[in-house]
């Protein structure tokens, strides 16, 4: 297992329409390295299905002693995280958008 940080970026709509595909992508990326960093700056919409995939990834990472970092949260993501009080769940630094 490569002990380096793998970075991917997700963009566009993280919704039910892409959730199944998203799940496969994220999990595959997660298992390629010990640390996975996901850039969320391009996310323009996040719904429950998309959120579930992120939560699943976080739980899976924890279960497999890997690390998942979310970075560059877009306003759409921050909005959902704040609504559901999930910032602590993911444990990443979130930039507050003015």
């Amino acid at each position: 297992m490569a002990d380096e940080v793998k970075r991917i970026a997700l963009d566009g709509e993280l919704t039910i329409y892409r959730a199944a595909e998203l799940k496969l992508d994220v999990l595959a990326a997660l298992r390629q390295a010990r640390v996975l960093e996901i850039d969320l700056s391009g996310v323009i919409e996040l719904d429950s299905a998309g959120l579930q995939v992120l939560m699943l990834a976080k739980q899976t990472a924890a279960a497999e002693q890997r690390e998942l970092r979310l970075v560059q949260h877009s306003p759409a993501v921050v909005d959902v995280f704040e609504l559901l009080d999930l910032v602590a769940f993911f444990g990443d630094a979130v930039l507050i958008h003015a």
């Binding site: 039910i16 199944a20 799940k23 996040l46 429950s48 739980q59 899976t60 609504l83 559901l84 999930l86």
Partner: protein, 722 residues
Amino acid sequence: MNLDEALQTFIAESRELLEEMENALLNVDLAGDQGEAINAIFRAAHTIKGSAGLFGLDHIVGFTHVVESLLDKVRDGSVSLNDEMVVLLLSCCDYLSAMMDALAAGRTEQDPDTAPEGEMLQQQLRRHMAGEAPEAAAAAGAALAVHAEPGVERIDGERGDSDYWHISLRFGRGVLQNGMDPIAFLRYLRKLGRIVGIATLADALPPADEMDAELCYLGFEIAFDSAADREAIAGVFEFVQDDCTIRIIPPHSKVSEYVNLIRALPERAARLGEILVRCGSVTRHELDAALNQQAEAERTPAQQLGSILVDAGNVPPVVVEAALAKQKQVSEQKAQESRSIRVDSDKLDKLIDLVGELIIAGARASMIGQHLQNTELLECTSTLSGLVEDVRDAALELRMVKIGATFNRFQRVVHDVARELGKDIGLIVDGEDSELDKTVVEKIGDPLMHLVRNAMDHGIEPAEVRIAAGKPAKGMIKLNAFHESGSIVIEVSDDGGGLRKDKILAKAIERGLVDPERKLSDSEIYNLIFEAGFSTADKITNLSGRGVGMDVVKRNIQALRGSVDVSSREGQGATVTVRLPLTLAIIDGFLVQVGSSVFVIPLDMIEECIEYGTEPGQDYCNLRGQVLPCIRLRRLFRMDGAPTRRESIVVLKFGNQRAGLVVDTLLGEFQTVIKPLSPMFSEVKCISGSTILGSGEVALILDVAQLLNTVSGKGAAAAIPA
């Protein structure tokens, strides 16, 4: 549950409620804070009314309604509770109890004989309502629909601290596929108020490989600050209501509501508790208290956080120290109830019977083991008998009940009798947690009643005398219970004048109970009051003093294999001490043999066993310088055959009497299952029951108290000093 069973439950519950109501009435502090007590009284009346309505018991509903109306007035402060009213309400309690008894006897209609009494009570109740009578009377007839639930909630004083709604959501798996997005609902919810705290639960998420990204696994716990009503809040989730489990708890709900929620939800209780705290619906304090209790109660299996919080919900918030002490009795009882189950006592008796058979069978097995001299079998039977002993103890413990309920009944007795006597007397109850066998509890009620009445009538002096003696005008009766080496000790004490030695002695001599020349110790003199036909009261009241009583008390207590003793300090009061065995079903016994017969002696009555050696031709022996009267079982039971060469003496002790029992052989300890003798043998003296030995033989259990009586003669004057 069919209606008949439900009715039985109703009767049982109503009786409990009435008892609670009575306690609350007796404890109500007319000068101080009455809120809790009045709520308790109201709750009892209200619940009985509601349940009676379910069964169409119109006469009960009608009566309780009037009671309730008055209490309602008291609660909102428009009528204040006074002494007269307490007495009236107590009479109402009695009247309701009588109705319950009639109901238990199968009369579901108003009994015409008692109707006038009910009518009279109702009139008095209305008079107290002052001017509100017509409305109440009309209401009594008309609006008697059952609204138990909202009313009970409304008056419940034990609230959580939360000002917020609590909303619990578990979305169905198919929500997303149906085109709904939980997040969207939460956004919409924000339009109605402020989300104070939210916990998003992903606990239902399966492992990565099994998770279907198009199904919804989310749940939310939300503390919500809003002025909207329940309907509006529920309306937010209207579109998903078929596909989502929604639970809404209004602000200021009882803690138990949250507990019910915790129970209903799939996640683990402790974790849910944390979540509720995080969203601010339950305070950290409430949760901690419950969790601590859980840790302490670990020994009790299957004690769930839920039930603990329920109990906690029953314990009122800390108020003034004094108020709390008064509340304690009632609320502890309630807490106890919610943690216990009702079992038919017949079933318990059956269990005890079976355990008894088990012990007998076990004894037989170990006897065969010894006979065969098979070590493996012996080892096995010894483990088995250890376990059987544990089972025995556990089974007997099931029959153990706290004496508190019996004690609390005396609050009323003291209240009523004090009124009758025109004395001001209070009751202090201590050790109400002490447990003893249910049968004993049932049978001890009457003797205790006698002792309490006696103490109030003869013990406590009139107020003038008390003040003259420098004592507080209010007399005190104290009931105390505690365990002491296999028995329970119940003390009835008063702070009255105490027993008058000279008077008792004079009376005893006058009645020929003691020889005037005899020197008696103080305790011997005091115990003379338990002799038949003894009464020193100068005047005979309708309570006591007729010369029957104390001797009957003593007999009743001895019938329970117990003993009674009295001590006193002149001018400071007297204490009657009752000692009872903890159980009547199974005891540790000691086997002795005379000729071919085997007898059992209760082990805790045996002091020691010594080698036989009486003074030639005499019925006593010298036990370390003291005279020990001896009873020859062979002669007492007129058994044939010559004594063995090496006889033994078993030294028995009961109360302060001692005697030696001459037997042929000592056989050792034996777990004894007491089987009553058939009524045919009820007149046989010195035998209290029988048991079955491992060999299948029957052994008789000796009645030590009676045996000792045969040596000490009838009078206590001949009692052997200990």
